[in-house]
């Protein structure tokens, strides 16, 4: 029951998101607007009810399974992009390398004080 009640909450916020997107013609998806509305609601009421926590934990645990059907398509669109595979692979591999390097550098630069404090060291597994 807790799970179902939480699920209904999530659906409710997605519907609210849909209404907001349609009404203001925002360039975001319905679910994305629902996420933001739920976050605002949680921050305002400062109380996370148990059913929402249960349902969200259950759904987030299944994210990998839910995105899998979309991934299957990769094996079927190869022809569509046959001429661009070099560009795609280079963009993904080189682009990811550069962005990882940039993020590490930026974070290191902006939080230097926190970096060396001993309390943040945790035993390595």
């Amino acid at each position: 029951m807790t799970l179902l009640r939480g699920f209904l909450w999530l659906l409710g916020f997605q519907l609210l998101g849909q209404a907001a997107v349609e009404w203001l013609s925002l360039p975001v998806s319905h679910a994305m607007a629902g996420l933001l509305l739920l976050l605002v609601w949680l921050l305002v009421t400062r109380r996370l009810n148990e059913s929402v926590a249960t349902a969200s934990q259950a759904l987030i645990g299944q994210l990998a399974m839910l995105i899998m059907p979309g991934v299957v398509g990769v094996f079927f669109v190869i022809d569509e992009f046959a001429g661009h595979w070099t560009a795609v692979m280079l963009a993904l591999v080189l682009g990811t390398f550069l962005s990882v390097l940039t993020t590490l550098w930026l974070m290191q630069r902006f939080m230097p004080g926190d970096l060396v404090s001993s309390e943040t060291q945790e035993p390595r597994p």
Binding site: A31, L36, L59, L63, P69, G73, G95, T96, M111
Partner: protein, 236 residues
């Protein structure tokens, strides 16, 4: 289609059963292989589905139409991401300054590098649009794709490759640069490698895991809000 294939049931139930079986099989195989970071369970599962479709003689289009019954759950699952964000509000508020300085730049560059490289190599707009959300967690990326266009499958494939590459590069570069702070490594994994990076970060420890989910959620929200706007501005 003839012979034994004709008597095989089809429709949404078969599509869902095949997907669940492939997922469970993928996870089992993943564990058996010793949880390799270069081959996530999702990829194994997707390969199993593709094989299953081929064996059963089901056209991909039919599968795509039937599986909507299951993937509809991506909507509420996306809304659910508000909960971990809310639960981590304290760490977000505590580190708001470095996060606020780094995140927009890091998230924007993650998209820009890939789009720029592909553009220089002469890729068409549909490919560029598919690559732009590459560091965003899948449910949000699907929302972005609905807004800016491009191929859903290419985008999800790009997401997958990005996640795996980010995991490899973060471990490698962190060692090279002598970075050991779990918060920084976790955050970088989440920002660049979305869910795949986050799973990896939880293997490194709870602090890295928490910061990875933070990086993943913030990158996702930031990109989902701004990428469609920027895309529209440049009229791509």
């Amino acid at each position: 289609m003839s012979g034994w294939q004709a008597s095989i049931p089809n429709g949404p139930i078969l599509a869902i059963a095949l997907t669940l079986a492939a997922y469970l099989g993928g996870v089992r195989l993943f564990e058996r292989l010793g949880r390799p970071s270069w081959c996530p369970a999702v990829l194994i599962g997707a390969l199993l589905i593709a094989t299953g479709l081929w064996l059963l003689g089901i056209p991909y289009r039919d599968y795509q139409r039937d599986i909507v019954w299951l993937t509809l759950l991506l909507g509420p699952a996306t809304v659910a991401l508000a909960v971990p964000l809310y639960q981590q509000r304290q760490s977000i508020f505590a580190l708001w300054k470095p996060i606020l300085c780094c995140l927009p730049l890091a998230a924007a560059l993650a998209a820009c590098y890939a789009v720029a490289i592909a553009w220089l190599l002469g890729a068409p707009p549909a490919v560029l649009a598919s690559l732009a959300p590459k560091s965003v967690t899948a449910p949000l990326a699907i929302g972005i794709q609905e807004q800016i266009g491009g191929s859903l499958s290419l985008m999800l494939g790009g997401l997958l490759i990005t996640g795996v590459m980010a995991t490899l590069f973060v471990s490698w570069l962190a060692r090279l640069l002598g970075i050991r702070d779990p918060r920084l490594i976790g955050f970088t994994l989440g920002v660049n490698g979305h869910a795949i990076g986050t799973v990896r970060a939880f293997e490194l420890g709870p602090t890295a895991g928490a910061f990875a989910s933070l990086g993943m959620s913030l990158t996702g929200v930031f990109t989902a809000l701004f990428l469609p706007l920027v895309w529209r501005l440049f009229g791509a």
